[in-house]
Structure formats: structure tokens, C-alpha cells
């Protein structure tokens, strides 16, 4: 039930500009997360994060166990990669990944035993530094989509004025329900993660932000929190309106705190750190067990999927194996998307590995994906109304076609977060996100000169 009032839950302090109403299609919200058995092989790219790629630390023929480091680097902005199944390394070399680029990767053939490495033990944490080191060692990146290394995000300076932690469980993308399920199925992991991180990093306020179409997530978290003595007033639940893109970092921060992150700045510049609910839940588990990031949960859904599910799979599992586990295709797939329908990436091939930051696989048959013919812009202004960043997408498009570097810059193209609201709203079917990317490329080229 949307908009239900729950005692003790906060409302957003501010409503921003723009946003759109898109059908939620949360078909799998009642599907508890199930574990997928070990796949025959996993492919683990050495770069599944923003930052420096890792170098493989294993060679073909090596026997590996779950949780063993197989790739690392000395760079700070990077995270190690761990073996996600037990078995034998069968290849080390470039593979194609979802975005079409070639990346160095380690392929492990599973022995089916799923044996844990003996080295896994709970991290010993006395200081903040220990904690950040442990987070880096866990291989954690933002599990909500961007794939930014978490330890970098958390390594803010004491005097930087960061006082607020927001746990992002808005999950505004249609179809995806894993964050919702994480709140319900692993509510204690979420809360214990929140308490620990709050204590170690000294956040004054912690908000867990969830859209109002997930009322059972609120009640579950409240119940678990009430049973626990650690629950204190500084951890609050916030009920956001179900409006896309409520979960976009800048929009979320504005709704919860009223603060606006200026263009080109980071959340920490306004004193906020945002973590995806899956990331915090993982940390909750990791600090207890020491088991690094070797698997993740995702939603598999869409009109072409036979048995939509929420599943937990080893990272590096091929998307084709994941789809097979979900009953395969029940209709000929027209489009397969890694991620949500608003911001996810259309895959050209399903024989690519699942990466750390991939929260959904959706497959649609041709008759269920609306294709709007691309027509000329009629200047209706719907894209302007829809843009949560208060940009004028149609103006940016014009500037981009003219290769007008300054025009693109002045129009704020760099502030565009590619949320897709404008293109969703456009009655003329203009691929505005593509043009926003073009505008950014124009600016990049222009400033490179």
C-alpha cells in the first residue's frame, strides 16, 4: 500500500523539480532471494569498479577457493577481485564484457564443491584505518549501480563536515526488487551494518530511505530494530514518494536532507555519504564473517523470462547461465538489459559475466517493448518538466548537434545524470540520453583541445 502512514517514519523534507511516473512492475517483490547453485564456470574481469584495474595474482592451472584474492593492485582507488567459486583457473586474458569492451579477466572452472578459503576470518578492527583497510580488502564497490569503491567513499576526513549517512533503498527503477527483498530477508544484516558503520565513522544522522510502495520493508525494519537495544534515535527511516528517479544520489540527498549537491561536486561536499542498502547489508555480514564480496543478489524479470526470480549468484556467472536458472526464455528476447529499464545497458550478447555492480537482468520480447518513432522535436517542454536536474534537454540536444562546446557547458550538460526521465517523457521519441552523452563528448573533446 502506497502512502500508508507508519509511526516514526520521516517524510522527505523537500520535493525537487521534475521526475516522472513510470509503471513500477515490481512483479518479484514477493519473491524471497534464492541461491543459485554453483555455475560451471565464472569469468572475473579485473576491472569491475571505477578506478585502477587489478593485475591477476593467479595463473592458469592454479587451484583456488572461494574468497581467495585473484587480482589486486597497489592503487588506492581500486578494489581486489576474489575467486567466487572453488575450482581451477582455466584462462587469464582479455574477455568481452557487457559494455562491449575487452577487459583482462580470470576464468575459473568450478569443481562444484564451493569450498571457502581457509584465510577467511572476521577482520580485526580497532581503528578507523583498520576498518577502511578491511572494506578495501572485502572488494566492496557500490552495489547499486555505479561501482565506486566503497572504502574510497568512506575515507572522508574527520574535519570535512560529513555528518550524515543515507542508506539508499529507494529502488526507483521499475522491475527491480532486490533492495526491497534485502530489507526484508536480511533486515538484521542491514541494521547491524548501519550501526557498525555509524559507530566507527561517527555519523550524527543515519537515514534509511525507502519509497512508499514498499511498506512491508518499513514494518520489517522497524520490528527488527525494536527488538534490538542498539536502536537509537539517530537512525531514522524516511518514506519517499514513489517517483522516478527518487533513488538518484543527488535527488535522494535533496529529499532526505534538503541539501543540493552542486554540479561537479560530491555528496561529501554537502556532508553526506550515500550507500546502497545491499552494500551496507554486505558490510554487516562481512564484519562478522570476513567473507569478501563473492556473490550478490539481483532481480531477473521481464516478459521474456520464464520464471522471474530474485537470486543470489556468484559474481562472474554468465548472464546466459543466470537466465537458464530462471527457466530460460519463454519468448524470443528482443532486448536484454543489464540493470533497470531506465538506466540499464542493453546487452549485445548474453554470454558475458555478471559484474559486482549489476543489480538486475531483464529480458523483453519485441511485443512488450514500446518503440516510439523518432520524430522532430515539437518544443512541448515535457523533457524540461521531467528533468530532476532542471536542465533543458532539448536545448542541450541542439547545442550538441552544433558541436557548440560553450553552449553545451552553459546549458549544464555535465550535470546530466543520464536518468532518462527526459527521453521517457518525450512524445517525439527523441533519444535524449544519447544526445546528452553526445553533448558531454563534445565538451570533453573541446576541453581536450
Amino acid at each position: 500500500m502506497a502512502n500508508e502512514k507508519i509511526e516514526g517514519v520521516l517524510k522527505p523534507v523537500m520535493k525537487g523539480h521534475g521526475g516522472i511516473h513510470v509503471s513500477h512492475n515490481k512483479n518479484t517483490s514477493k519473491c524471497a532471494i534464492v541461491r543459485m547453485p554453483a555455475p560451471a564456470k565464472v569469468v572475473l574481469p579485473m576491472q569491475q569498479h571505477i578506478g585502477a584495474p587489478c593485475t591477476p595474482t593467479v595463473a592458469v592451472g592454479d587451484e583456488v577457493k572461494i574468497g581467495q584474492v585473484i587480482g589486486d593492485t597497489d592503487a588506492f582507488v581500486s578494489t581486489p577481485v576474489h575467486a567466487t567459486v572453488s575450482g581451477k583457473v582455466t584462462a587469464v586474458g582479455p574477455v568481452k564484457v557487457a559494455n562491449g569492451s575487452m577487459v583482462q579477466a580470470v576464468t575459473i572452472e568450478s569443481d562444484g564443491k564451493m569450498e571457502l578459503s581457509e584465510d577467511i576470518k572476521p577482520p580485526k578492527i580497532d581503528t578507523k584505518d583498520d576498518f577502511l583497510k578491511a572494506v578495501r580488502a572485502s572488494g566492496l564497490v557500490g552495489l547499486g549501480g555505479a561501482g565506486f569503491p566503497t572504502h574510497v567513499k568512506l575515507a572522508f576526513k574527520e574535519d570535512s563536515g560529513v555528518d550524515t549517512l543515507i542508506i539508499n533503498a529507494a529502488e526507483c527503477e521499475p522491475f527491480i526488487t532486490v533492495d526491497h527483498r534485502e530489507c526484508i530477508d536480511n533486515s538484521w544484516d542491514v541494521l547491524s551494518g548501519v550501526y557498525t558503520v555509524k559507530e566507527i565513522l561517527g555519523f550524527k544522522n543515519v537515514y534509511i530511505a525507502i519509497e512508499d510502495n514498499k511498506s512491508d520493508a518499513f514494518t520489517e525494519l522497524m520490528k527488527v530494530a525494536a527488538d534490538n537495544a542498539d536502536w537509537d534515535d539517530s537512525v531514522k527511516l524516511v518514506m519517499l514518494p514513489s517517483q522516478y528517479p527518487q533513488g538518484a544520489e543527488k535527488v535522494l540527498i535533496q529529499s532526505v536532507t534538503g541539501r543540493q549537491v552542486p554540479p561537479g561536486k560530491l555528496p561529501s561536499d554537502v556532508g553526506v555519504v550515500v550507500m546502497n542498502v545491499q552494500s551496507i547489508s554486505f558490510l554487516g555480514r562481512y564484519l562478522k564473517t570476513g567473507k569478501p564480496l563473492v556473490s550478490r543478489s539481483l532481480t531477473v524479470d521481464g516478459s521474456a523470462i520464464a520464471e522471474p526470480k530474485n537470486i543470489r549468484v556468484p559474481i562472474g556467472t554468465l548472464i546466459s547461465d543466470i537466465i537458464e536458472f530462471c527457466g530460460g526464455f519463454k519468448a524470443e528476447p528482443y532486448k536484454v538489459i543489464g540493470g533497470g529499464p531506465m538506466m540499464g545497458m542493453a546487452l549485445y550478447d548474453i554470454n558475458v559475466p555478471l559484474l559486482k555492480n549489476n543489480n538486475a537482468v531483464l529480458a523483453f520480447s519485441a511485443d512488450t517493448i514500446k518503440v516510439k518513432p523518432e520524430r522532430a522535436c515539437i518544443r512541448c517542454g515535457r523533457c524540461v518538466q521531467a528533468c530532476p536536474m532542471s536542465l533543458m534537454p532539448t536545448k542541450i540536444e541542439t547545442r550538441a548537434h552544433l558541436k557548440d562546446v560553450e553552449g553545451c557547458q552553459a546549458a549544464g550538460a555535465m550535470t546530466c545524470m543520464e536518468c532518462g526521465s527526459c527521453a521517457f517523457a518525450c512524445p517525439s521519441g527523441r533519444p535524449l540520453v544519447q544526445y546528452m552523452r553526445l553533448a558531454k563528448a563534445v565538451i570533453r573533446e573541446g576541453s581536450a583541445k
Binding site: 525537487g16 513510470v22 509503471s23 521499475p174 543527488k250 543540493q260 549537491v261 552542486p262 554540479p263 546466459s320 537466465i323 530460460g328 528476447p333 532486448k335 536484454v336 538489459i337 529499464p341 531506465m342 538506466m343 540499464g344 545497458m345 542493453a346 546487452l347 549485445y348 550478447d349 548474453i350 554470454n351 523483453f364 517493448i369 514500446k370 516510439k372 518513432p373 520524430r375 522532430a376 515539437i378 518544443r379 512541448c380 517542454g381 515535457r382 524540461v384 530532476p388 536536474m389 532542471s390 536542465l391 533543458m392 532539448t394 549544464g412 550535470t415 543520464e418 532518462g420 527521453a423 521517457f424 517523457a425 518525450c426 512524445p427 517525439s428 521519441g429 533519444p431 540520453v433 552523452r437
Partner: protein, 332 residues
């Protein structure tokens, strides 16, 4: 599983709203229907003939000019149909057919297609075509050409008379022989085909606002401001209502000034634009030699739209604070 090259790859988002350009134009056509029905009641079957000729000429002109310019066909978006109806609505029912065709060619070929087609023209095609017709054939478009009935009925021949806007002036107020407010509201009066019935136009406007095709800003600010100025100028509610209901204000404010292409995109811009339209309309009506000023004011404001849009750019997310801080810093 081998699916290579079969999957469609395109930029996100992978879902789109159900709204289409054609759907929007269809809504505008639906909104224009009541005024069309009213016109047939007031002016007889000839009104229908003019509307049909105008629509067919506009669609044909669009089809042929796109063809001649070797561009893809756009008549499917129905915007030429809308232009055709609007042009007809802005003409007297006595106009010779060939002049309608001429107007349609001006609207579609000269104003719309020569500037690149839908979304590119800088003034409203139907309005500019009307103004060209007024200038080229003054006799056919002047007061004498307007047939009115002044009674509810089917009086096709009617009487030839001045439009209601010729029967009110600042000096004399509402003159003798002017239609009653009720006649103006229902539409049983002289005037252009589509402008006579305020009631029918309002119905269409409400439909467009409910369907979210247009924002209420332009019609409300435009009509509201005209009402306010007229109330002050005449000091008389009846005269104010006469000015609001009579002439081309309703059709102009609801259907012509709200044209997407030639009005500002931003809400602030819309307010400024509508205020401008209202001011110029009042100036012409009160002090000009023409009885009517709606078309000219909208055309003038059309031309200013790029500037208005430049002044009223929305503040990009996250930049408000900086400005405020700067102001505060400056104040210190």
C-alpha cells in the same frame, strides 16, 4: 545460448511514456471540435466547407513540400491538420475558397516548411497566414466580410455586419447594436469561423488542460490580464466581459498562443509571454486603429520567444545556493 546479433541494442531508457506527437495533435483536434460545431450552427454549412478546404490544402501543401524538399513525410503527426483547422477558424465564412488555399500555402510552405518543419517555425503559421490575407485582400477580411446572425438559428445568409470588436470603444463603451454578452458567450454573433463561441473554445481549453496537453499558464495569464486592464480602462464589468468574450481573445489565448513551437518552454517564460500578449492586445484594442489585436500581439510575442527563453532559463540543480551565497557575500 547463442543470440548474438539478434538482440537490439539502444541507449537507455528502455521504456517510454505512452504519449506521442500524433496523440497530442489528436487531442488538439478534439479540443477544436466544439468550436467547429458551433461555427456550423452560426455560419451554416459554408463554415464546414472552409474548414475542409483549409485542412486538405494544408495537408497537401505539407505533403508536397516535404516531397519537393526530399525530406521524410510528416503528415502522419497531424500537425498540418491542426494548422488547417486553426487557419479556417481565423477566417470569415465569406472568404473565397481560393484565398483559403492561398492562406494554407503561406502557412505550411512559407512559415512552417521553409524553416525546417514542425518545431522550427518562429511564428504561428495560421496566424501569419491570416495576417498575410488581411494585408493582401483587405476587403475580404474587413468588417464587411463578417456574416453574423445575431440570433440563435440556422440563418445561413444572415446579416453582414461589423465584428463585435468594432462595436465597443473606450470613448463610447458598448455601442448600440452590439451583441449581448450571452450571444458572445454562446457564439451567435459575427466574427471569424472559429472565434465566435467562447463557450465552445473554453470547453476545448479545459479538455487540453485536463489532458495535460497545454499548461493553464498562458490562457489564464493572457485572459486574466486582458480582463484586468479592460476593467480598469472601462471601469465597467460589462465592458470588461464584452472584451474578454468577444473577438479573437479566447481562440488566441487558448489555441494560438499556446502553440508549443512558438511559445516559451519554461513556466516563467510562459508568464512573461502571456503578459506581453495581453498588454499588446489591450493597447491595440483600446488605442489602435484596428478593432482587433490578438493576432498581432501573438505574432509579436512569438518573435520575442527566443529572448524570453534566454531570460528565463531554469536554475540548474545545485547552483541556487551558490548564487545566494554570492549575494550574501556581496551584501556583507
Amino acid at each position: 545460448m547463442e543470440l548474438n546479433n539478434k538482440l537490439t541494442v539502444s541507449a537507455s531508457p528502455h521504456v517510454k511514456s505512452a504519449e506521442t506527437t500524433t496523440g497530442i495533435m489528436l487531442d488538439v483536434i478534439i479540443a477544436l471540435l466544439p468550436a467547429g460545431v458551433a461555427s456550423v450552427f452560426v455560419f451554416g454549412i459554408r463554415a464546414l466547407l472552409i474548414i475542409a478546404v483549409s485542412v486538405i490544402s494544408c495537408v497537401l501543401a505539407e505533403f508536397l513540400s516535404r516531397k519537393a524538399m526530399k525530406r521524410d513525410q510528416t503528415i502522419g503527426d497531424l500537425s498540418a491538420v491542426v494548422t488547417g483547422i486553426l487557419l479556417a477558424y481565423n477566417l470569415p465564412s465569406t472568404i473565397p475558397i481560393w484565398q483559403v488555399v492561398f492562406g494554407a500555402i503561406v502557412a505550411i510552405v512559407v512559415v512552417k516548411q521553409m524553416f525546417g518543419g514542425i518545431g522550427q517555425n518562429f511564428v504561428n503559421p495560421a496566424l501569419l497566414a491570416r495576417i498575410v490575407l488581411i494585408s493582401a485582400f483587405p476587403a475580404r477580411m474587413s468588417a464587411g466580410a463578417f456574416v453574423g446572425t445575431n440570433v440563435v438559428g440556422w440563418d445561413v445568409d444572415g446579416v453582414t455586419g461589423a465584428t463585435p470588436m468594432g462595436l465597443i470603444s473606450l470613448a463610447d463603451g458598448i455601442k448600440d447594436g452590439a451583441p449581448s454578452l450571452m450571444h458572445l458567450f454562446i457564439g451567435t454573433t459575427a466574427g471569424c469561423i472559429g472565434e465566435v463561441s467562447a463557450l465552445a473554445l473554453l470547453l476545448g481549453g479545459i479538455y487540453l488542460i485536463i489532458r495535460k496537453v497545454i499548461s493553464p499558464i498562458i490562457p489564464c495569464v493572457y485572459i486574466g490580464t486582458v480582463a484586468l486592464i479592460m476593467l480598469i480602462a472601462f471601469g465597467d464589468v460589462n465592458a470588461m466581459l464584452y472584451e474578454v468574450l468577444g473577438g479573437g481573445l479566447m481562440i488566441g489565448a487558448i489555441f494560438m498562443a499556446t502553440d508549443y513551437t512558438t511559445s516559451p518552454i519554461t513556466d516563467k517564460g510562459k508568464v512573461i509571454y502571456a503578459l506581453g500578449c495581453a498588454l499588446i492586445t489591450c493597447l491595440i484594442r483600446l488605442f489602435g486603429s484596428l478593432p482587433e489585436g490578438v493576432s498581432f500581439s501573438i505574432i509579436i510575442m512569438n518573435i520575442l520567444v527566443p529572448h524570453i527563453e534566454n531570460w528565463t532559463k531554469p536554475t540548474i540543480f545545485g547552483t541556487v545556493k551558490e548564487k545566494k551565497e554570492k549575494k550574501e557575500a556581496a551584501a556583507e
